[in-house]
Symmetry: C2
Subunit: 404 residues, 2 copies
Amino acid sequence: MFKLNDNYLKLPGSYLFSTIGKKVNAYAAANPDRKIIRLGIGDVTQPLAPAIIQALHGAVDEMGKAETFRGYAPDLGYDFLRNAIAENDYKSRGCDVSADEIFISDGAKCDSGNIQEIFSLDNKIAVCDPVYPVYVDSNVMAGRTGTYDSASETWSDVIYMPCTAENGFAPKLPSQTPDLIYLCFPNNPTGATITKAQLQEWVDYANKVGAVIIYDAAYEAYISEEDVPHSIYECEGARGCAIELRSFSKNAGFTGVRLGFTVVPKDLKCGEVALHSLWARRHGTKYNGAPYIVQRAGEAVYSEAGKAQLKDQIAYYMNNARYILNGLREAGYTVSGGVNAPYIWLKTPDGMTSWEFFDYLLERVNVVGTPGSGFGPNGEGYFRLTAFGSYENTVEAVDRIKGM
Amino acid sequence: MFKLNDNYLKLPGSYLFSTIGKKVNAYAAANPDRKIIRLGIGDVTQPLAPAIIQALHGAVDEMGKAETFRGYAPDLGYDFLRNAIAENDYKSRGCDVSADEIFISDGAKCDSGNIQEIFSLDNKIAVCDPVYPVYVDSNVMAGRTGTYDSASETWSDVIYMPCTAENGFAPKLPSQTPDLIYLCFPNNPTGATITKAQLQEWVDYANKVGAVIIYDAAYEAYISEEDVPHSIYECEGARGCAIELRSFSKNAGFTGVRLGFTVVPKDLKCGEVALHSLWARRHGTKYNGAPYIVQRAGEAVYSEAGKAQLKDQIAYYMNNARYILNGLREAGYTVSGGVNAPYIWLKTPDGMTSWEFFDYLLERVNVVGTPGSGFGPNGEGYFRLTAFGSYENTVEAVDRIKGM
C-alpha cells in the first residue's frame, strides 16, 4: 500500500497567499458592490513595456514558420539570454559571473523552492524571521525542519534570525551554525536592505563556517541608494559560498510571463563536487527550459529601449511607495521599507494582531494587505503593503486608510 | 559544513539526451560539411498551427495594455484552459474528470519528475524496462531506489517490468508488489500500446494491492486504432488509483512553448488524505503557474480551427512514421511501433549494441537516433527513431539507411 510524503501533513495551514486569496474572494462575493483595492500579494499591475511586447510578437512569428520554429530549448537557457544577463547584471557591476553559470528558469519562486533539493537532508537551514514562506515550506516538505511547535510557530530544526525594529530589520549572524542560509535583500516582506559591508560580513561568515548562502535578489531593481549591493557577487569570496536567485517578475513585470534565473558559480564546491553540476543535473532531469518566446522577452529587458521603459516603470511603482510611506506617516503609522524596495512594512495600530488588522482593513476600507505574521512569528503586529498597484488605486487606498 | 544530496552522485552518467546532444555536436563540429538528420530526441519540427499563433499574438496584445494585463496566474491554471481540457479530453470520451482535478503545468517532463515528491521515500516504484529515464532518475535523486549495480544496470529497490519482443513490449504485472507504478502508453520509447482491456487489468491490480499508477499519456493524440485507450480514466476504478500526465508538446508542437497538465482525481486517497490536496500544496508552494499567453495558446488547441490544423499536423508526422516503418522493413530491419505512436523501435542489425549502432548511423549516414540501451537494459540491441522530422528529412534519412 502506497504512503504519502507525510512531511506535507506537518505544514500548518495553507500557503499564505492562497489563504489571502480565499478570504478576499469570499468578501468580494458577499459584497459585490465594494471596490476592493489589492495591495497584498506582490503582483504587478502595469502592462508589459512596448519593447517586450515587440519581442514577444517577433518570437511568436518565428514560431509560426518552419524556418525559424524552435523546439526544446537548451537545458540551461538560450545563450542570447544568458549572455545578456552576464553582461548587464554582472560584468557591468564588476561581478565575476560567466554566462554558463547562469541557469534560466520559469521564476525565482520555483528556484527558491527547488534549490534545497541538491543539499543533504541533514543540512540545517537558517532563515530570517519574518521570511518569504517558500524557503521554509519547501524545506518542511523535504523533511529538513524537524517538528512544528504551534505555540511558538517555529520548527525545531530551523535556525531563526529575528528581524525586528530594534535591529533595523537586518538579521544578526546566527548563534547556532547553519549549513544553508537564506537571505533576501532588498527584503521581502520588510523592504529593508543591508549595506555592502554588512553583506560582506555574511559572506565571510559563510566561508568561515562552510555554509552556503542562498541569496534572493529578486528586488534589486528597486535599489535607489548608493551603498546597497545589487548582487552578492559584489562581495569578495562570494563565488565560494553563494547561490543567487533572480527574477524578471518585479523589474520587468513578468509575474504572469514567468522567467527567472539562478547563478551557481563553478567555484562553489563540496569537496571535489561542484554544486553547478548538481543543479545542471536537476535542470536536465526535472525541467525542460523556459519558453523560447519568453526568453526573447527576457532579452528585450536588456535592450536600450527596454532598459529605458523599465526604468520608468520602476519609477512609477516607487512613486507609489513614496505616497504610501508619506501618507501612512502623516496618519501616525510607524512605517519602514519603501526606499530600496516596493514593500512598505508597517506596525499595526492599537496592538492589533496582523490578521485582525487584515480583516479590519478589508472590511472597513476594502484594502487588502498581507499580515506580517504570515511571514513568521516576528512578523506579528506588522503588515505589508505593496507599491505594485496603479497610482490611482494606491492614492485611493492610502486616503481611505488615512480617513479611518 | 554543508553537505550535498549524495543521491545525485549515485546517478550513472548524464541525462541520456544531454549525452546524445554532446556527441552529435562534437561530430558536427568535426564535420561541418555533413548534413546531419536528427531523428533522435522526440522534438517536433513543424511550426505552431495558425490558430495557436493567432491566440499567442492576441494574448501578447492583452499583456501590453493595462486593462487586459495579467499578473500571477491562478495557482492551478486558468479556468478557461482547465474547462477546455475537462470538456475535450475527458467528458467527450466519457471520462469522469472535472476541471478542478486538472493541474496546469509547464510540461509533462516536470510533472513526471516532480510527482514522486508527494509520496513517501519508503515507497517502491515499478517501471517498464526500457523506460523514459526521468521516472527513474527523479526517484534516484529523491533516494528511493537503493544502490546501483553497474553490471546489470539496475537499481536494487526498483521493480523492473521487462518489455520485450516476446511480450509485444507490453509489461506483465510485476511479481513483487509495488507502491507506485509508472506506465506510459502509447509508449516512449517502444511505440507500443495496450488495449483498454489490458489497461483495465492494471487498474484492477493497482486497486487490489493499493498502488498508485502514474499514467503518462503524452502521446495519446497519435492513437489511430480503435481499442487503444486515450486516458486511463476510460477504465473503471481508475479514479481511485491513477494520476494521469498529459502534454501539449506532441499533440500541438509545444516542446519550446511548454505546457502540460496532470490529473489527480479527488477520490485518490491515502486514508483520509486526498493526493489532490498534496499536489495542490506543491503547486502553490513551489510553482507559480504557466504563462498567461501560453495558457491561451493551449486553449486554442481545443478551438475548431486548432483541432483541424493539429489533426493535419499529426497526420503529417504519422505519414513520416509509415515511411520509416515501411522503408526499414524493406531494408530487412525488425521494426515495431509507429502505428499509434510517433516512435519506431528497431532491432539493431548484426548483433550491434545500441551505442555501436548509434555511432555507426551517425558516422556512416549522419542520421541521429536514440540508443535503446539509454532507456534501460532491455533496450539494449534496440534503437529508437522518431517521426518528428520534416517529411523531406525523414525520406532522406530512411533512404540513406536503406543504402548502407
